[in-house]
Symmetry: D2
């Protein structure tokens, strides 16, 4: 029997998630909140404002009749990509905004959080509103993961290479034995089933036919990836997609992101600062192009997202987002929600690849084996890794 | 019983295809052979040279011991994308080459054709060589389709809008009744089966599970597409992928390629010159983004390539290449051929969408319902169209 | 008789200038110090660091034997364009640096200032060193002007349009009567004469022949510029250089920088925030292209830098940097200083135009009628204005 | 006493110039007329059409009442940059036009030439019209020089490096003794004086004061330039403008245009094909940036255009266009002609440098020592050279 979730539970969960975002940022200097070194990175203060704007825009301004907007200019500043909600700062300009200040944004968070608590208490039994709040909380958890990735990029591309946290826990390698797990041919069901929260892109549970396949119990390690590099992996076009090859040549890439070859040794930037690459840690910060090339070099391939989902109960996952061979496409009978929230996932279902799993910076409780993450095939600032199949 | 194909049949077929390429160009002025108005269009003379280089490079220079290369500089000029074969003119520079002249290239064709006939006679019973010749012939047929599309682009973007052929046959609409064909749920086999020629990307026949679906017996017409345009289809972001929306806004697109709104009427450039848009002709020259948006506006969707292949015996096809919802990915157990010919298809299997069918300019005998064409999602200079599913 | 400048005077002057830079920034929020909205704007904290680095690099590290560098990574961060001094952050990346923090940089300033005072006392009678200090002080004054212009750009391009200082003094119009001052034909001497400080590009005093000309006693006002705008000045190519015309069309420019047409009225961003355009204030933030077009529309022209220098004793100047018709070229017998300081001016003497005068944000004591400022012809974020000649 | 020029002389001169343009092209293949490898190069057929359009547009369509335009679409195709005359093919698209064909354009030339001869006979005594014809003839001569430079670029950038004319005469070095010619301080007059043809930018004869200077009797040779290269001239930023340095680094330039280092030897493409660099021939195809850097390396400088004009009677010139230190600016009292012809020179007087002299491909009779040519400081496809001063 499903246990009832009370409104007090929801309020506590809301407050916990809201506080966690701020804790992630608590190690930053004010200046670290502001910058945007590349288009895909957003300034931390923007994340803090945008997640707040989400609650204000989709809940308070719509359903709380007496709510007074904190500042009307914020709608322009903190809208990410919702065409329905009006004009917005273009994405590449987020790092040009010194105002609102960090302090302004924390004030904004306080203001909205207080209004939200009152609002939740007043709407304790409104299922539709509770669902929207849960959506907002999950949205903020997604941005917590982005906060970690963006902070790593900001500090890891600063010439001073400052640590985020000198005693940040080391990412241990999994203890599993490396073996190929065999999954039998058959018709399997794919997609979310249950009555908890999930994203619209996981819905539309449906059947797929899978031929028999094998999938590794382990993620590819830095040590294995170094073998690929040392075998000339970045110099042999045979392993690469044409587009991937052009990209690595144009960008002069010869290693994963954050790796530096210094005095005869491969080092990489971590949250603890610069340190030697550990060979038995799962490789991280590789693009789909690199994951594909590595697999081709190994004479294997990446799993499809369907294979991954079916096999996932048989291996540990959650350290790295894992690239799949699957392009990001709608499931059968996918339908967009009406209104602005319909812009959440559907409009990005083209020219991206699916990642499955979760990563070391994914918030606890924010992962499922039906979760579909997605990025362009050249992105590597996320905590992405590789699992092989054949 | 399969009838034996003799070497004389092969020689005749070779000669027929080689001649057809030249016939397609016979209506051109010398100047038309030279220009490259956009990166994806190649000059006609480049196609004539490149298809010849293909036979010279992959057959004569490898297997004909006494063959003397026509001109060593041509390898640099006519290599398209084969990294294995060495350096090459970058794609965007093909239109900067006034030499070799058209006459030089026809001379090159004569030279290679004569060598090929002798070579074929000497290798009449060498199955591997015959297979390579068949491959080269199919390769040239692909370039015949490209010749038509590129010639249309060259003439259709000239301010004088010259006709290619004033009596070029009009593309009739299909006579079929418009209805939704129902295909039952089931496991189906996908991919080429037989002993004729097919491309490597069609191989690896495999099972897929399909839920029940419906697919239109007819292609979307210009008239239907005009309704979409007149209903503000290009002004409403809800129908579009985010990337498609950015693209049409940046390019200021409001109609298919070659359409011009003149004195209150929609005209389009055809091989006959500029003429009014016929409402009952299948719409042509739309990108995947536009096909997707049209389907979304209709409350329907595009078929997957698997649905298309399964349903295809039940409808007429062959007037337009038809966009599918499927990203271009390898079939299970896809493997690249060894050597340079392995670069033919596999390295392009990312960030493109599959088209199925064939078009009015596809050479006769060069279509199958397992044929997989593919282009980037914003390309529209091919003879592409739309078929709806749900 | 020239009065002797004692070392104490120099120390006081040094300290005054150093303090002034910090006072300019004292009205900023921490976040305002960090951002770089366009390539030509540098973050205020970068200016504060770079001017300090200048003293550290060209004085302390060279001439103070026991000086211990504050932080060796700063050389990479704060080098502006000195090739001789080694690698540096590329200009467009200055806004991506959250570290060193603002506080770090103030600490750096304290550290270097203290070392400098001791150093000055120890070298009180070393004329070469005193000259270098004076150079560094003038260099910092130049950056004070840039601080104002960059701060205005940062705040004036923020969607919240925050004021820099709500009671910032209004820029009064000059009280002069508008008249054309006649200067007679003759041979005049151009360039700096005296024994005070000047830049190398002012030296090489030399003769020029000037035909008789007339020059306005007044700067062009906003009101006059509005007449140009209302007469279709930005729509008529006849007034413009071809390059200027292409630029305003591509950038969609119809007014000076910071002007906004709101509810039927021209407003502009000032240090006090957004306010209506005053018609009798000198027009500001126009490019050379616009200054030229305005003059052409008036049937007049801009003065050459030689005409300006000769006529300058006869009119008030100092509110706006004034565009001249003269390209920025070396004076006869111009020679670069040896070493890195030789990179100061000479290497920029191409494809820029000369501005003469000074502006409302030029530090007091930092202007001369022989001073040659220079910018690319499309730059307008400086406090630039227009004076007509014929 | 000035001898009268009869209308028959003018007709003969017109016909001679028109024929010369076609003779320059007579060595080309049809394909060579069509291509545009870089934006600044125009296809030869465009030059042939544009110079014809000039006579049609500015004379026949304005002053010949019964003239029937050859083809109204040509106005769009062959307008170069005249905003007054309406829309035009953008410059970078000239190489995308296969139509009108070369034959069409020769037909156009015939048609306009015949109309012009009749028109000239009918207007034998109309001084204004005769002046316009002389202008058109000089305009065509300018394009003859461009035909040579553009043809050299087209053939010299083809991977086959075809010769333009295998027996094209070798450019001899001047026989002068190398010496520094001294010109005394004084007031000199600059600009065209006389009653022959000159361009508007040469008019406004005016006085300049020149200090004493020295100028070389000889152009810099390939041998001298090689010394600069071998002394690391392209690797030492001290010799270069900042903008020039960035440009050579970005473009990876280490030599003049058309130079190739092959098997340990410097070769260059000439109209005769590829051949070794002659050390005693004047260096050619250098940009202003390179000319400046060479002079800086030599411890000398380039002459100003005024110095050049004053000194020019004392040395041989005409083999190379010679870069000067002078930016291209209007002479005092420069005024644009009314109407479209006013766009001829004035609107380009910004961000370019002046060249003086003439080159080996300048038409005979088309040079004067007051002639002002001008190009952007990074252009080097013209026959440009270097003369030193101090």
């Amino acid at each position: 029997m499903k246990q009832a979730i009370t409104i007090d539970d929801t309020i506590l969960h809301f407050q916990h998630v809201r506080k966690t975002s701020e804790q992630i940022c608590s190690l930053l200097q004010t200046e670290d909140y502001v910058v945007q070194p590349v288009a895909e990175v957003s300034p931390p203060k923007w994340h803090l404002g945008h997640t707040t704007w989400f609650f204000e825009t989709f809940l308070l301004k719509v359903y709380a009749p007496h709510y007074k907007e904190f500042d009307p200019t914020y709608n322009y500043v903190f809208n990410s990509y919702y065409e329905s909600i009006g004009a917005r700062v273009i994405r590449t300009d987020r790092g040009n905004l010194s105002r609102p200040t960090v302090q302004d944004i924390y004030r904004y968070r306080r203001y909205v959080d207080e209004a939200m608590v009152t609002f939740m208490q007043e709407n304790a039994s409104n299922a539709k509103i509770i669902d929207l709040i849960i959506l907002g909380v999950n949205h903020e958890q997604q941005h917590q993961e982005l906060l970690y990735t963006d902070i790593k990029y900001i500090l890891g591309h600063n010439p001073l290479l400052p640590a985020y946290q000198t005693d940040y826990p080391r990412n241990l390698s999994t203890s599993e034995k490396e073996e190929m797990i065999v999954v039998k041919e058959g018709i399997y069901e794919i997609g979310y089933r249950g009555d908890g929260f999930c994203w619209d892109n996981e819905l539309g549970r449906h059947k797929v036919y899978l031929a028999q396949f094998e999938i590794s119990s382990m993620l590819v390690t830095n040590g294995q990836y170094l073998e690929f590099m040392e075998d000339g992996g970045y110099q042999n076009f045979n392993h690469w997609h044409a587009e991937g090859w052009d990209w690595i040549k144009q960008q002069h890439l010869v290693s994963p992101l954050y790796w530096h070859y210094i005095d005869g040794q491969w080092m990489h930037y971590t949250f603890r600062g610069l340190e030697p690459v550990h060979t038995d840690t799962p490789v991280c910060h590789v693009s789909y192009f690199e994951a594909y090339a590595f697999a081709a070099w190994k004479g294997m391939r990446l799993p499809t997202e369907f294979e991954w989902e079916v096999a996932s109960p048989n291996f540990d996952w959650g350290l790295r987002w894992e690239w799949t061979e699957s392009a990001y496409l709608p499931y059968p009978h996918f339908s967009k929600a009406p209104g602005a929230l319909g812009e959440y996932n559907g409009k990005f279902m083209v020219n991206q690849h699916v990642l499955r799993g979760a990563s070391e910076v994914t918030p606890i409780g924010h992962s499922r084996n039906t979760y579909r993450n997605f990025f362009q095939t050249n992105q590597r600032w996320q905590f992405t890794g590789i699992r092989l199949a054949r």
